[in-house]
Amino acid sequence: MKLKTLAVAGAIALALATTPAAAKTFRYAFQGDLNALDPYTLNESFTLGALGNVYEGLTKRDKDLKIIPGLAERWEIVDPLKWRFYLRKGVKFHGGEDFTADDVLFSTDRMRSPGSQMTSRAPRDMKAVKVDDHTVDFVLTSPNPILHAEWDTWYMMSKKWAEANGAVQAQMSSATSLNPFALKSNGTGPFTIVSHEHGVKTVYKPNPNWWGKPEHNLTEVTFQTIKSDATRVAALLSGDIDMMDPVPVQDIDRLKSSANATAMIGPEIRTIFLNMDSMREELLYSSVKGKNPFKDARVRKAFYQAIDMEAIHTKVMRGMSVNSALMISPLLYARAAEFKRHPYDVAAAKKLLTEAGYPEGFEVVMDCPNDRYVNDEGICQAVAQMLSRIDIKVKLNAQPKAKYFQKVLATSKYDSSFSLLGWTPGSLDSWNILENIIGCRDADGKGAAFNLGGWCNPRITELNKLILVESDTKKRDELIAEAFRINHEEVGLIPLHQQSLIWGVSKKVQQMVLRADNQILFYWTKMQ
């Protein structure tokens, strides 16, 4: 009894002696909330990033987005239809459960359960087969060289724990069902969530039993939402937080000139582009009746060449963007350097428009979000202004994202003639772009559902089928180049730029990794 008391007292004394010196709390803020702790509820980069500190996939991605081993030590493609994953041994979940092949099989089923938004992580007909406790085969019906491309955010969950906590099915996004599990977490990752108060505060603590070697020196992490841009900047400047995202473009200089904070800037992988309705026989919102000017490649190219991207880069984006000739970030496609933008040339654009039979120009309505991408409305205003130089009168219809997406997507049958959109390929691969954005679709959205303009060259759909199953990287890149070249020449969609990621970071932070997918992963963060 006495001994025990003494030991406890000793432990407390030790804790008191060591804690103040070693305590390193990293406090960060984001403009949005952490909306779900169920890692299958929301397929959205902030949530996936926040949970990526707690949960882990079979694979991970390193600081440069390269695929590296995660909960699988290694994997091999036994034959094109069978991938074998060797699981890391001795891994435990936060709740103490061992990580085994059964958990992988369970996570495969759960990923496909009705409430899950992660169904796109693997082909629907893929089967997971347990070989032994630490080996799993994934059996496919058609070859897929990028099968594991998105598995870094397909987080493994414990079967035992899920069954004990009523979490066998993913938390539905719909209002009719509520899973008590929606506010709990149990991963294998370097951090555990100690408390989560939605919209207010989330507290993380390091997981002392993590299998890897920590690359951080934190003892606690707190996350808070700060909605207002000005407040977020003020909170960082006053030292109330150590890191925040995003920094409004106009505040970068103020951060850089401040004594306690600075701005980290890097390229983001989202591409911003313009869609033109080249599917309908007559545009819904235009002065041209009886025909659709966007069906003519010359009109589309005239639009392209009339837009001065340099001006948008310097004036609207204040230098915080990289102009793009491609529909994908150059970070994600090896041969991106081969592509150059069509030059900005008002005279050439005017000539093209005249040749196409519109010497007087025409009117068109442009749909634009005003709270979705960096300075989205500003970009649209600039585009409208620039197009007026070739006598295209653009009427701008800028709306909040909830309204905008309701109008332009398949749900309203693509009710738009000319619009601005941004896209990040979830798999960080060109196939995703071709499949969702550039390929053909029908009027209801079957096919490339997010090709808002409906521009279609059947060769791209053909190429994309080949790209999906081609395992040879060189050949695959050639096929992708051909598809991108078609879009470039015919100007099916007009790529604009990749916006920059801007994080505000306190000078107390010694090391922080700004990854191009904008996931805030603090397991690489070191504080003074």
Partner: protein
């Protein structure tokens, strides 16, 4: 008296139903909640399925009927974004807003009344002019500007007060209070001043004009003539007679402070109902919006009802009118 109360209650019920209907019609124009709930890669079939599960494809009349039927049982559904029952979210968020509103109102009254009295009595003194200038700023600057200004001065430049949030909170039953911790009290100062500044100005100006009015009346002159002290005249007689309209205005303003703390809460990231509402609007989170609007309507109906009842007690003319009709 009873008939009067019952008629008022019926009217209140009518107001509530009207607000519900108006809110519901408005929701048709806030945008599509489904796109805010799914990731960009979610297939069209999955989006459509979600839409059906949420009942968004049903006719408006059916949706409205369902909403009212649930609302009378205090069921407002589950937030699309937060995946929790709306009643839980509101009961968690309400204490923050109520504490903020209460302290802001206290600030407005505690400073507004003395300033009003002073400027009423000493009309031409330089201090009065300063008070009136300050109150002019309070009434003319928009709330978010005042908030940002205060943050920059007290958090960024001086570093004495926190720039956002509510500080540490203590849980007493279901009520989480920030009034019992130092950091909680410090965090309360800036938002309370921001929110209360306009009301303080209002109270100051109201008290001042009432004082000017009252000080001219005969009974004050008589009181002076009888040789009562200045203090007794000003506070015992004059101020007391100015308070009836002041109390009415403060009562109604309290409702406004609670309901429309939205901007202050956004600027200070104060985790109350206003912040919850603005987030719900941005994400077209209909259950939260509906419940919040109903709550605000209820609050105003309740305050008006109480004020009406007090009037009846105070003013016999209303009582007679109530019986006669």
């Amino acid at each position: 008296m009873l008939a009067f109360a019952i008629r008022r209650l019926l009217e209140a019920a009518f107001v509530m139903v009207t607000v519900a209907l108006l809110a519901f019609v408005l929701f048709r124009f806030v945008g599509d909640p489904v796109n805010q709930m799914v990731g960009q890669d979610t297939s069209l079939e999955d989006r459509q399925r979600l839409r059906q599960e949420l009942g968004l494809d049903d006719p408006v009349a059916v949706q409205f009927g369902r909403f009212v039927a649930n609302a009378v049982r205090f069921e407002f559904g589950i937030s699309y974004q937060m995946k929790q029952p709306v009643t839980t979210i509101i009961s968690e968020r309400a204490p923050a807003t109520l504490e903020l509103a209460f302290v802001a109102a206290l600030f407005a009254v505690a400073l507004g009344i003395p300033m009003g009295v002073y400027t009423g009595i000493h009309r031409d003194s330089w201090l009065s002019k300063i008070f009136l200038t300050v109150s002019l700023i309070g009434i003319s600057l928009p709330t978010f500007l005042i908030g940002i200004l205060l943050i920059y001065v007290f958090a960024v430049m001086l570093g004495v007060l926190p720039s956002f949030g509510r500080g540490e909170v203590v849980r007493i039953g279901f009520w989480r209070t920030g009034l019992l911790t130092t950091s909680g009290l410090k965090a309360l100062i800036l938002p309370a001043v921001t929110l209360g500044l306009f009301q303080m100005t209002l109270v100051t100006r109201l008290v001042r004009s009432e004082m000017l009015e009252v000080l001219r009346t005969d009974y004050i002159k008589f009181a002076r003539a009888r040789g009562l002290t200045q203090r007794a005249v000003n506070f015992g007689h004059a101020l007391r007679n100015t308070l009836v309209p002041v109390i009415t205005v403060i009562g109604l303003q309290l409702g406004a402070i609670i309901a429309f703390a939205i901007i202050t809460e956004t600027v200070f990231q104060w985790p109350g109902m206003g912040l919850m509402f603005i987030q719900a609007v941005q994400n077209a989170d209909i259950p939260v919006m509906a419940a919040y609007l109903m709550l605000v309507a209820f609050l105003f109906v309740l305050i008006n009802f109480i004020v009406d009842l007090i009037y009846v007690r105070v003013d016999p003319r209303i009582r007679i009118y109530g019986r006669g009709v």
